[in-house]
Amino acid sequence: MTDLTRARGLALLRQMVLIRRFEEKAAELYTEGKIRGFLHLYIGEEAVAVGAMQALTADDNIVATYREHGQALVRGVSAGAVMAEMYGKANGCSRGRGGSMHLFDVSRRFWGGHAIVGGSLPVAVGLALADHMRSRRAVTACFFGDGAVAEGAFHESLNLAALWRLPVLFVCENNLYAMGTALERHQARTHIVGKAEAAGVAGDSVDGMDVLAVEAATRRAAEAVREGAGPRLVEARTYRFRAHSMYDPDLYRTKEEIERWKARDPIALFTAALREQGLLTDEDIAALEASVGAEIAAAVAEAEAGPWEPVENLLRDVHTPMDR
């Protein structure tokens, strides 16, 4: 992209580095027992959330998966609120009810991390239906993985969104594995854009390790959706560098394959590109790392200092309080 300014380049890089360092810290805290449950790291996939989110406005809806720390942070959910949620504290973004897999911030139209693969797609279609019926000119961006394309909900949701021309932007983060099962081991046809086209949804496939390419593809798709063209799908081909979750011994893929993808680390690629264009210095990197480090330290402090929800509130928020 020729119009890349130094300021924008630094901003994109900082968002990716924030996700990376935040998750490295989360993994460390997991081994210390501060964070429990499932923890799914996004490391390696940062360019997808960062690139895609540039095309979305504050009026747009975001629906994410259980691997959603990146989307939440880029959307503006504070690192402290996310970290506190993973600690299970009352100052977490879901008051300690959700954990890593269920980050919510309705004030930012961040409608959650969803932990049933494919289960969030129908909800995204419904958010778009509401916008359509209320004449709100917004896009609902729905992130999901390649594993979800095996679910009936994927096909049903694309069909319904296309049938009713709803403003949904489906973003498939294709990291090649449904947990431990490679795409070619669970799909007769691995061409995800082809599946979308079969449902009447135009799709585009993009290098998910290239933040600017993801941004450009998402922007094109989001603008079409916003203009009333109906749903679009963007497939970002990416790779997770870490195991599926902290429990995963990662026995189903080779070290060589992982190393091959690590050579295309989205942060390293973008750093190199910025340097090549003279938009980034060693001092910039040091300052950026220091700033991110301080933000994460503050987030951990916020989580550590946060209160536990009183157990008397156990049954709270099952139903909405109302005067009968």
């Binding site: 300690g96 009810r97 919510f104 049933i116 129908p122 909800v123 279609v125 509401a130 019926m133 099952v318």
Partner: protein
């Protein structure tokens, strides 16, 4: 008061809701051009148009999920799932999303969704079209389960469901649709979570809901000719359950018979029985009894299906067995 069918009463509530609240819309399989599989929504497409009366593809999981999303987005969707049998395809959305999103988000959102579906057997539709699974749904915290057993309740409980901020599942027994009852179309919404005593009596309490209510009332008419006066409690809402009304009735009659079209094992009747044991045990003069469906997938042949389902005669027989021998 107007005499109308259960079907017309449900339609009356839908029409009233669509007229009075622009956020309300109806979607589901064949609700529009076909007029609804049970003709509940007949005429609504013509009156309100295709934006607000939406025919969906046969994708229960997705259109129920879309209802959840639309509710999050500020609408008041009414989703019709043709029958409870097909709602099994939407269990993920119902149990994992509708029931959980408010709590899982720490109370940041509400899902004001109404899902209506036909339930029950008795029409020779065999094992895949005759389920009574409302008791399953009542197991799940975060949703409300309503089971109108009269035409008036079909209207008023649906209106009440639309006032709830959280998901409500309305189970309309298919056998009730053509039944007529007195309906006050000027009355406001009913009260969710409040049972009704449909008949007073001193000898035993028969606790039931939904499609079993008319059968119970037939049974109690027969029993009355024999000098047995049964009290009939219509639960109306399975979750939240009006335990107080059940216990008050049992305290008066000292005997409880629960009639539930679900299978006996893990039935809703088992829950009602447990609550009576926990809090009404010392009011009882004898064990709580149940009349439920036989433990068999529903057979097609009429005589076999009749034998599998609770019937007025089996209900009356169970009631007689519970009372001391006379003479």
């Amino acid at each position: 008061m107007t005499k109308m069918t259960y079907r017309e009463a449900a339609r009356s509530a839908l029409r009233e809701a669509l007229r009075s609240d622009p956020r309300v819309f109806l979607m589901g399989e064949d609700v529009g051009r076909y007029g609804g599989a049970f003709a509940v929504s007949r005429g609504l497409l013509e009156e309100f148009g295709p934006e607000r009366v939406r025919d969906t593809p046969l994708s229960e999981n997705t259109f129920v999920g879309a209802g959840i999303g639309a509710a999050l987005g500020g609408m008041r969707p009414i989703v019709e799932v043709m029958t409870v049998n097909f709602s099994l395809l939407a269990l993920d959305q119902i149990v994992n999303n509708a029931a959980t999103l408010r709590h899982m988000s720490g109370g940041q959102l509400s899902v004001p969704l109404v899902v209506r579906m036909a339930t029950g057997g008795g029409r020779q539709l065999a094992a895949q079209h005759s389920h009574s699974l409302e008791g399953w749904y009542a197991h799940v915290p975060g949703i409300t389960v309503v089971t109108p057993g009269t035409a008036d309740d079909a209207r008023r409980l649906l209106l009440a469901a639309l006032r709830e901020p959280d998901p409500v599942f309305v189970f309309e027994h298919a056998y009730l649709y053509p039944m007529e009852g007195e309906v006050d179309e000027t009355a406001g919404p009913g009260e969710i979570g409040r049972a009704a005593v449909r008949r007073e009596g001193r000898d035993l309490s028969i606790i039931t809901y939904g499609g079993s209510l008319p059968k119970v009332l037939q049974a109690t008419d027969v029993l009355a000719t024999e000098g047995i006066e049964a009290e009939v409690v219509d639960l109306r809402t399975l979750r939240p359950l009006d335990t107080a009304t059940v216990l008050a009735s049992v305290a008066r009659t000292h005997r409880a018979l629960i009639v539930d079209e679900g299978w006996r094992t893990c039935s809703f009747a088992a829950e009602v029985s447990a609550r009576i044991m926990e809090r009404g045990f010392y009011d009882l003069d004898g064990p709580v009894q149940r009349v439920c469906s036989a433990e068999v997938p529903m057979p097609y042949a009429r005589h076999m299906e009749e034998a599998a389902l609770p019937q007025a005669a089996t209900i009356a027989a169970a009631a007689r067995e519970m009372l001391p021998r006379r003479g």
